[in-house]
Symmetry: C2
Subunit: 318 residues, 2 copies
């Protein structure tokens, strides 16, 4: 709370803000950056949101409502940026220059002079919301759209385990400003590129089941990516396909990299330990989601994976 109070005092004191968000921005980066930008404008400050990569068109309902301002930047603030490097090209120019970082990543590198870091917040937007309230700014429909977008994005529309009761109450408050949350969710979660659809089709074609249907493999080769015209964006979330199938305890996605090696993503259901499976191949991660890299012929790789998965299932007496 003191952090929030101090942050709002800092923001009142300074002016001419560049609000830095990470490259390849998602809904939380964009939502938190633009919400803060709007709030600063409303208290008479000059501010722009700055991002080194283009902001996806789907977020135009946020971006198009804010006019870029012409001024010489004096103060640098970051939202949702755990590490300065995540700013992308030219990040070095900001080293030692960021006044305040508002973030929800516990891993935040503390690269700024001051920070508010709350790893219990599901989104950076929830922290920005507190700062905005402390600034004395009245939240309006446009700010509410920004905040809701970030909360919804980072919780998978309230589906993930990071969703707290406070998250839901914050979202409820945003709905009370009259936003069209269903339309935001449609844009975020119900819209796929044709290339993505094509890649999913090919991925489903590649799906194979092993060990009595308890293990599922999805393979994504460079040839498939090329055939589908799929970008890196289109690959997002593909690792959840295999684990979704009823009866599957271990979902394995094998993605060929440009150099021909395979990046293996393992997703498990309790109590199978994904990190332990990947540690057999020098990889690691979390108990439900882990990864490793393997090289060689795809059939050999699959055989090795099946062997390790078989042992992991035995351990759980499955």
């Amino acid at each position: 709370m003191n952090d929030i109070l101090h942050s709002s005092a800092l923001l009142k004191e300074h002016d001419n803000y560049h609000i830095l968000i990470h490259a390849y921005p998602d809904g939380d980066a964009i939502g938190s950056g633009y919400a803060l930008c709007r709030a600063l404008h409303s208290i008479g400050k000059k501010a722009n949101v700055v991002c080194t990569s283009p902001i996806p068109k789907m977020y135009s309902y946020i971006v198009d409502k804010v006019q870029m301002q012409d001024f010489a930047p004096e103060t640098f603030i970051s939202t949702d940026v755990a590490d300065l490097r995540l700013l992308g090209n030219g990040y070095e120019q900001y080293e030692g220059k960021v006044l305040l970082s508002l973030d929800h990543h516990g891993t935040n590198k503390r690269y700024s002079k001051y920070w508010v870091i709350d790893p219990h917040a599901a989104s950076a937007c929830e922290i920005v919301l507190e700062v905005i309230k402390m600034l004395g700014v009245s939240v309006d429909k446009e700010i509410a759209e920004c905040i809701y977008t970030g909360i919804s994005t980072d919780t998978g529309c309230f589906k993930f385990a990071n969703t707290t009761s406070q998250t839901l109450r914050n979202a409820a408050d945003m709905l009370d400003f009259g936003i069209d949350a269903a339309e935001i969710n449609r844009v975020m979660f119900e819209t796929k590129s044709r290339n993505r659809i094509e890649l999913e089709r090919l991925a489903l074609d590649s799906m194979s089941f092993h060990l009595g249907g308890k293990v599922a493999f999805v393979t994504i080769t460079n040839e498939m990516r090329e055939k589908a015209g799929a970008s890196d964006d289109d690959l997002e979330g593909m690792t959840s396909l295999s684990r979704q199938v009823e009866g599957v305890k271990i979902g394995v996605t094998l993605r060929q990299k440009e150099d021909g090696e395979y990046k293996i993503s393992v997703r498990t259901h309790p109590p199978v330990d994904a990190a332990e499976i990947c540690s057999n191949f020098g990889g690691g991660g979390h108990v439900r989601a882990a990864g490793c890299t393997l090289s060689g012929a795809i059939d050999d790789i699959k055989e090795q994976m099946i062997e390790v998965c078989s042992k992991a299932l035995e351990k759980c007496k499955w």
Copy 2:
């Protein structure tokens, strides 16, 4: 509010309850029925949930925690039942015998002596929650699991337009009882049968684009259903596949029926009127979701649909 007060008085007055839920029950039917059942048990009443069809295994985290009781039923209550016929086989035995109906369907047929019908509630569970509170029952973790399940199911995990700020606040309250909401959502939304996955694969194979990618067709033939081993349950939600594709304004799903006719489902993005498109073929529905039935060769049907879609797009100047 008076309705809720009166309902709780009725429930305190009577005993030996059969709580009726609709056949082929979903999360809201099961959640509302079992939440009320648990609440009645906790004030010393005898109560069972009664359903004419088996309750899907995925809901065992609700059902397995409630012991069926042995008693002669005296009082019939329904939750989430808009029409007595929805009870399925043998519904006639309840005609004129239902004391109280707790429902959120504005179309409720008022078949009971008393009722609480609130079409603004996203789920029947939200109405049952109010009644439970008025009964003076302390909500516990198990009741919270039931209520959350219904709310989450009927709002597509808070994604749909029926989600109100009150819906989100009710869900937040349930989280405060320590439920594992993420696990409930995984079971509800992230689990697909192998047959469903196979049907999706075939459906994606069938996807075709027309009128510059603004119209997408998905065809599901009896042969495909048979090949995938897909049940009626597996067909649920398939109509949203085509509209999800970026750039698609009109998503059309053509599903062959057993008699060979095609059931056409049309899903549109604003401002295209789905009901108007279907009215050309004697069908109807809502502005974003409508349907009709056509017979004949599939290619002829598609040609007719394209013609009508083309006019609908022209009308919107697309």
